[in-house]
């Protein structure tokens, strides 16, 4: 005899989502030393970008449409946006595939996509906590140019950051599907990291890219994870550009989630859970 579980209500799903996000944040805080060390390591790597750009400005004081001060502000804010939106989704998932725990995740009443997204929200919240003091240090060294020029820029930056989270999550969710198929997803994770590093605008705004590279970047979602929120926040993109840029971000977000769900359903038809 079997008993069907009751379908959870919308409020139950919402509270489940919140609880999962909170628990993910708590578990990530358990390894706060690792999070801090990871931030320091990526901060150091990022310093190299910054120092190389400063050398470029010494060699050529007018290398493009962005001046030295604006570029410094861009790079510092881009580092922080990237740090906030760095999700541990794929690594966490690979571990669970290997241990066979993913079978439990597939049975959760919340659904697989919201389950993954809740964990992503938890990651981003913890990252935000660590980035706030870094922003203070950045303000001390770089000054007010890190702040949005108007309240409107701040609002647009915040909205764009939220959409950037969904775009980034959408890409991660596709990587998760690849891990279902390959069992080990390290290759796709690092390939994605390489694409993100080039095309997200992490190392420079797209306007500084050579033509070929910029053209490629405009056809990919990565720039909407870092470059678009930073441009809004710093006032480099004004309200006149907002409708188009935000619509592009939203379109990428929806398309990636939709594609992720399609792939997920197809993967589920043939997936076998590992015995652990």
């Amino acid at each position: 005899m079997s008993t069907a579980l009751p379908v959870p209500s919308a409020s139950q799903l919402l509270s489940g989502f919140g609880a999962l996000a909170f628990r993910t944040a708590e578990s990530k805080l358990t390894y706060r030393l690792a999070t801090v060390l990871s931030l320091i390591a990526s901060g150091f790597a990022y310093c190299v970008y910054l120092l190389v750009w400063l050398a470029v400005y010494r060699e050529n004081p007018n290398p493009g449409p962005i001046g030295r001060g604006a570029m410094t502000a861009y790079l510092v804010v881009a580092f922080m946006v990237n740090a906030i939106l760095t999700l541990s989704l794929e690594f966490r998932f690979i571990q669970r595939v290997r241990m066979g725990l993913v079978g439990i995740d597939l049975l959760r009443p919340l659904g697989f996509l919201p389950f993954q997204m809740a964990q992503g929200v938890g990651d981003a919240l913890v990252n935000l906590v660590f980035v706030v003091p870094i922003f203070g240090v950045g303000l001390f060294f770089v000054g007010g140019s890190l702040m949005p020029p108007t309240a409107g820029a701040a609002v647009l930056g915040a909205v764009s950051l939220l959409l950037g989270f969904v775009v980034n999550f959408g890409v991660s969710y596709l990587i998760v599907q690849a891990s279902f198929v390959l069992q080990s997803g390290y290759g796709v994770i690092f390939t994605r990291a390489a694409l993100h590093q080039i095309f997200s605008g992490l190392a420079a705004p797209l306007v500084m890219f050579p033509d070929g590279l910029r053209a490629a970047a405009t056809f990919l979602p990565f720039r909407h994870v870092v470059e678009t929120p930073v441009r809004f926040w710093l006032g480099m993109a004004g309200p006149s550009e907002a409708p188009l840029l935000l619509a592009e971000q939203a379109a990428w977000a929806v398309s990636l989630l939709f594609l992720g769900e399609l792939v997920f359903r197809s993967v589920m038809r043939r997936h076998q859970v590992q015995g652990g």
Partner: protein
């Protein structure tokens, strides 16, 4: 020596079993090199040179750095797995073997994707060489520089790994700092502030095996420094790494796994 060679070949054979992993790994390593190269492309599209170095000379730094990374990953990569060896209790077992524990750890996990990094580095270095007026005979020195660089890089990883013996956890992020420091050697030392130069030329002297040789190749460094500095730095780094490792093992406490 024969034992360590057999250990390495066995580990290599085990890794080669996962052919798809190997293929994806090589593609991944190559794409990471391409990502770094894309930044180089962006930067050099705005400045003809960096810190007084031409783009060809900077490219030589890129190539040498990638070969150093590739060789270390291909031969001595096991140190990256140290945190998991500690957590799983594998290190406890290893410590009662009649072998040099550090050598065993280093050789236990070669990464075949190193082939991607090494090949990308060799190709880049070849292109850079064709853009410089370096003497052809100097090519015979390249293996020496790459080996010395790999020893210095691995030694730095071992020293950080030794610290992780005290603070075990399922992460090796502190080692990433060393990886990023090595990547800093892709750009001329003159780009960096003095403290960073001291760090990468004298404290963790990757620069000795990368900057000094390329300085010689571009004609402003001496042959003596390019010949002597890399082996001296490699020997000093290796001795320091063995010393720190042994010191860390004295206070090692098992996780009880």
């Amino acid at each position: 020596m024969h034992f360590y060679l057999r250990l390495y070949l066995t580990a290599l054979r085990a890794r080669a079993e996962y052919r798809v992993d190997f293929l994806v790994g090589v593609l991944t390593a190559t794409s990471m090199q391409l990502a770094a190269f894309a930044f180089f492309w962006i930067v050099t599209s705005h400045a003809p040179g960096l810190g007084g170095w031409s783009s060809g000379e900077v490219l030589a730094l890129f190539g040498l750095t990638a070969m150093v990374l590739g060789l270390s990953e291909g031969l001595l990569n096991g140190i990256w797995w140290l945190p998991w060896y500690v957590i799983d209790g594998q290190l406890d077992r290893l410590l009662v073997y009649p072998v040099k524990s550090l050598v065993f750890v280093l050789l236990s996990r070669p990464e075949l994707h190193s082939l991607g990094n090494f090949t990308a580095g060799a190709v880049t270095f070849g292109v850079a060489w064709s853009m410089m007026a370096a003497p052809t005979w100097a090519l015979v020195l390249v293996p020496l520089w790459v080996v010395c660089g790999a020893v210095i890089y691995t030694a730095a990883l071992v020293m950080i790994g030794s610290v992780l013996l005290k603070a075990s956890g399922p992460w090796n992020t502190p080692m990433l700092s060393i990886h990023h420091l090595l990547n800093a050697a892709r750009y001329p030392a003159s780009v960096y502030p003095r403290w960073l130069n001291v760090l990468i030329l004298f404290v963790l002297p990757f620069g000795a095996a990368i900057f000094f040789p390329v300085s010689f190749l571009r004609g402003d460094g001496s042959l003596f420094v390019a010949l002597a500095a890399p082996p001296v730095a490699a020997a000093a780094s290796a001795i320091a790494a063995f010393f720190v490792w042994e010191l860390a093992l004295r206070g090692y406490q098992s996780t009880g796994s």
